[in-house]
């Protein structure tokens, strides 16, 4: 005797296939719809056969082999590789550091980019040449005036460079503040999503689209700063309605997970970066003219966001802006380094020039506003202006070009003695002691070699930043390709699936039709003998 079977058993089985095909088609549609959405990972139903319905103990059944009850969905999964995510984010942190650096160095390079008559080397050279001309015509007012105007060009180009560099420095500062605010925004959003994901997943399904959003935010956070994150069970544990233990996402600054002091996000709590004004920080440059205050970033625990206070902390846009704004040593080259180097050049030039110039004698003159005899001890540059920002000519030189001290002796105008008007010994001393001197201790050589080294450093620093970006981008692209390979939606594949699911739907529908015909036969045509 055959075992009992429900009359409508097959109808349900076929029906589950029909519904499953429908839902799978829905997911295919969802995948295709989101094919170009940033951060979207393709989704798949995890399906499994439904076991046969057993009535009573197996062994009691006289029948061997019962069909299952159709198909069921276990979960709607997203296809994603967490290991690749982590690799991607670590690489992203490095890449974005160098990208930011390379971008800013481009502008620093722009300040000095031209090598021609109007760049510092050209202007210095013209200034030196104007001294040579003056050495041949020390009594000639036009030649003296020419040297003064060349000197003015020199001071104004230092002023200009300083201006452009400090503007760039202030820009890094405000960029950093903006990005820090944006980072806080990201932290806030991640904490919110953590909460929403838990609420959603307590019901047993996976919050795929929310997780995609959160992953995208984690990607973005990793461009801002160096982060590590953990997915550990809640304490006390949380279970969803199927009894599965849930995990919470914690994010830490730096590479060491688990340090409470470095917490950025702990499930639905987030700890904003504190943007605090740095007292006296403007004086780092010896330049109190900067109007905007400089800021530093602190974690909520009071730890400063910097490699000095966080072990192994590297990378990210925030750090890049900070390094560019603060770096003033040859090991940590930022914009202040270039300003300091210029200041070093200015200080040496001004003090050495003045000390030789002061030993000479000016030429007596009289004009409408003033008159003066031949005096010694006159400054050429303003002795107070020892930085690229403040370098200027002395008031005496601005008053009259005759105050350039060319002579080694008192110059006279109206006696019948040696007037010394052609005495060029002091201007020769300036040529020898400034333009041609090649052993300035403070500059490690001549003014020219110092500027050459300066530009060389700038060029190789920029070139290094560009090169590092390029190689980091290659790595990032490769990881991104792997990620895309795992998670990306492929239209052709979805089309193939669509056809597969469509056929499955059709076949399930045909099953139902067949069972319907069977039932029709059974109900309407069976037992009608003789009717």
């Amino acid at each position: 005797m055959s075992g009992l079977r429900s009359t409508f058993y097959g109808l349900n089985t076929a029906n589950s296939g029909l519904f499953m095909a429908q839902r799978q088609l829905d997911v295919t549609g969802h995948n295709i719809a989101n094919a170009n959405v940033k951060g979207y990972s393709r989704q798949r139903y995890a399906t499994a056969a439904v076991d046969p319905a057993y009535y009573g103990p197996q062994f009691a059944s006289p029948e061997r082999g019962k069909p299952g009850q159709g198909v069921q969905s276990l979960s709607l999964d997203q296809i994603r590789n967490v290991f690749l995510d982590q690799q991607f984010r670590e690489q992203q942190t490095k890449t974005s550091y160098w990208e930011t650096r390379s971008g800013t160095m481009y502008y620093v390079e722009d300040v000095f980019n031209s090598i021609d008559q109007n760049s510092l080397d050209g202007v210095l050279q013209s200034f030196f040449n104007s001294m040579q001309e003056l050495s041949k015509n020390p009594f000639d007012e036009a030649v003296r005036t020419n040297m003064v105007s060349e000197a003015k060009r020199l001071t104004s180009i230092f002023n200009l460079y300083n201006d452009q560099l400090t503007t760039l420095m202030a820009q890094q500062n405000s960029n950093m503040v903006e990005e820090a605010k944006h980072t806080n925004d990201i932290l806030h959003q991640i904490a919110n999503l953590n909460d929403n994901i838990l609420r959603f997943e307590m019901g047993g399904s996976i919050a795929n689209d929310l997780r995609d959003k959160r992953n995208l935010l984690l990607d973005e956070l990793s461009t801002m700063m160096d982060i590590t994150y953990t997915n550990l069970p809640f304490d006390p544990p949380h279970y969803n309605m199927y009894g599965i233990e849930q995990t919470q996402l914690n994010i830490y600054a730096g590479r060491i997970a688990g340090d409470e002091n470095l917490l950025l996000v702990s499930h639905k709590e987030y700890f904003e970066l504190l943007i605090e004004e740095e007292e006296g920080f403007n004086d780092v440059m010896g330049d109190s003219e900067l109007t905007e205050p400089f800021y530093r970033l602190y974690l909520a625990s009071g730890v400063m966001l910097s490699p000095d206070e966080i072990e192994e902390y590297t990378g990210g846009i925030l750090q890049s802006y900070m390094d560019l704004r603060d770096g003033d040593t040859s090991e940590n080259i930022g914009i202040p380094y270039f300003i300091k180097e210029l200041n070093r050049l200015v200080e040496t030039l001004v003090t050495e020039f003045n000390s030789i110039h002061g030993a000479g004698y000016t030429m007596p003159y009289s004009n409408q506003t003033s008159s003066s005899g031949s005096v010694t001890g006159v400054d050429f540059f303003n002795a107070e202006g020892l930085t690229a920002r403040t370098i200027s000519l002395s008031e005496d030189i601005l008053l009259s070009a005759f105050n350039i001290a060319c002579s080694s002796e008192t110059v006279t105008r109206d006696t019948d003695e040696n007037l010394q008007t052609g005495n060029n010994e002091n201007i020769l001393a300036l040529i020898k002691g400034i333009a041609e001197r090649n052993d300035f201790d403070e500059l490690g050589g001549s003014i020219n070699t110092f500027y050459k080294t300066f530009l060389g450093t700038l060029a190789s620093e920029t070139s290094q930043a560009n090169g590092t970006v390029a190689s980091h981008e290659v790595l990032l692209t490769s990881i991104q390709a792997q990620r895309e390979s795992v998670s990306g939606v492929d239209e052709d594949e979805e089309m193939t699936n669509m056809i597969r699911f469509q056929h499955a739907y059709n076949a399930a529908a045909r099953c139902i039709t067949t069972i319907d015909e069977m039932l029709d036969k059974l109900i309407n045509s069976t037992g009608r003998v003789g009717l």
Binding site: I115, Q125, E436, K452, L455, T462, V489, E491
Partner: protein, 337 residues
Amino acid sequence: MSTRITSGMMVGNFNRNLGSANERMYRIQSQLATGRKNVRLSDDPVSVIKSLNARAQLSNISQYKKNLEDANAWLTQTETALSELNDLIKRTYELSVYAATDTLSSDDRDAIAKEINELRGQVGVLANTTLGDRYIFGGYNVTRAPFDLDPETGDMSYNGSSMIDGDIDWDKIGYEISFGSISESPDDDRLIAFDVSMTAGSAFGTEENNIYYTLSKMYDLLSSTSEKETFDLFSEVNNNTDADANTEISPYPQILLDAQSRVLAQLAETGGRIARIQMMGDRFANDEINYTQMQSDVEDLDQAEAIMWFSMAESVYRSALGVGGRILPPSLMDFLR
């Protein structure tokens, strides 16, 4: 295991390749447009330094060439003045020899005296020779005539001091004509460079040997003596070096020969300096070619090569576009009913 390649990856890859092909073309395009090999400093940090070197050298050379021209003008003017002075002394010598013959009439002597008077005036003109607006024999005094002639005493003063009294601080002007040509004098801490002027004394004579004074004395002797005294004056004519120059004309040919050899020595030295300037000029012309070549090697673009690279970049770009055009449009949808 074969990698899963999605259409997104193909599009991304295509975009990246197209981007890098574009970037290559952009680079070569800006190279061609500027004519410079390196458009930005960071393109080649080493050549930045080389280029700065070459530029500094070229700028120095062009300045030194200007200095050489000016030094040359000064020395050429000096040479002219000195050779005129030489001619003047030669003429005076002839006159002194002529005057030393005892057959001269007093009219002849007067004529000689007059000519010598003219000549000594000419000495003043030569001593105050100018180049443009500057006096070339005044040492550091270039703006006021350095020599004053006093026909009464027969003396000439230099920068306000009597030549005969001596005690004159001679100075001369130096130019820088090449890198490092300024140095400290071993005697004192004065700076010396390439001399364009000379101490006036070395050409015009110092103290009582100054040429104006010599001529003045000759003039005095010839114009003031009577006929009888004239006979005494010329009595021991034949190269009598012991004769008293204050009373006799006979030592003057020798004195003038000495003066001439002084001037000739200065002429030779001036000529030597001019030759050195010409030599330096030649060297700078050579250096200029070398450094221009060096600068050009570092900075200038090889047009032909750049155009070749451009064509290559362009063909890469075109094939990237071509391949993209063929792999991007088809999708499974095109083959489904």
